[in-house]
Symmetry: C2
Subunit: 212 residues, 2 copies
């Protein structure tokens, strides 16, 4: 096995590692500073690399931003896995809320970068929103409608249900500092996220006529 084919050694490994390091640093900086506020110098410093080296891997700041965003979009499409006709509604929704809440706790930077992108009109992901994401949501909305038609769920607009679920879960990542401040804490702990998940689940499930 040549080094070129073994990802653990050689230049291929160097590239892989550096790209990963840069993406991670970039996600953090874009999350806390926004696209315009982030500087390539800061990202490079956080990645522990000289700036020109960063530009060697990603020619422009915009290209780096796109790469970070692409990573995040991939995450997005997964979480809905539990929503399928065969599943028990209460179970599926509980799982979905839990998945989204976990994502907010574990990948807050990703959520923030995405939120920031949306806030500014989604210049870089408009295509995704109206394309892959719309198709996915339309699809899952049909599942909800099927549940309603089967009398398993109180009538509700499925799309708006999703908007509420996204908002209620992502708010704990995006606006964590507000929530922490109002709760009188310095930072949110896993206990807060548990409580949040329970509250959202209880509200939504009972709101849909299901047993929490």
């Amino acid at each position: 096995m040549s080094a070129a084919k073994n990802p653990k050694n050689g230049k291929e490994a160097i590239r892989r590692e550096n790209v990963a390091t840069i993406l991670q640093a970039a996600e953090a900086v874009f999350a806390t500073k926004g696209f315009s506020g982030a500087t390539t110098a800061e990202i490079a410093a956080r990645a522990g690399l000289p700036k020109p080296n960063l530009h060697y891997y990603f020619r422009t700041k915009a290209a780096l931003y796109r790469a970070v965003l692409d990573d995040i979009l991939a995450l997005w499409l997964d979480a809905t896995a539990s929503i399928m006709v065969e599943a028990e509604p209460a179970d599926a929704l509980r799982r979905y809320i839990d998945a989204k809440m976990t994502y907010s706790r574990k990948r807050p930077f990703a959520s923030k970068v995405f939120a920031n992108e949306l806030l500014h009109g989604a210049p870089a992901v408009k295509g995704f929103l109206g394309g892959a994401m719309k198709r996915l949501v339309d699809d899952k909305a049909k599942v909800i409608e099927a549940w309603i038609a089967a009398g398993k769920l109180a009538p509700v607009d499925p799309h708006h249900l999703f908007f509420v679920l996204w908002a209620a879960t992502q708010t704990y990542a995006d606006f964590d500092c507000q929530i922490a401040a109002v709760l009188g804490k310095k930072k949110l702990g896993s206990g807060d996220f548990d409580r949040a998940g329970e509250t959202v689940s209880a509200l939504v499930l009972r709101g849909l006529g299901l047993k929490p």
Copy 2:
């Protein structure tokens, strides 16, 4: 009555008008570009003034941002008016949701500026969050708890209830482009906001054991 005391004429009126125009332009630009992405040149252009004139009224970009933010914080503290012990829970909550949703529809820029500020760690409003806002929310949380104690409401963590309500209503201002894209529309119309308000109200009220 001297001109100086009559706000409709004279230099005082000029100042008032220019300040208002600048604040409005700034709110729009800060909302769509963020603090770092906004340029004083663009704000000035939008306000129809030369840049140095803008700096005449607001010495620095940061000062202008603070002024915009202060306007927004004032709005924030009002919406909760309907939450009081004497009120009927279902009625009060419906009103609150409606007020927040209206605010999302009518003042989307304000919501976005605030969201942007929170996303970036609230450097400029941390004091407000842990101060006036925390006190207000703690106060309103006691009202919710009183309702629960009186058996008018299913048990729920009052703070997290508020977080969910904020998220569910503000998402229609902050992330409008995502919602529009998923709904297959160019822009959200008042019909969408109506439907959103109904959905949130129905979910939350039933979720709290109330009649929607």
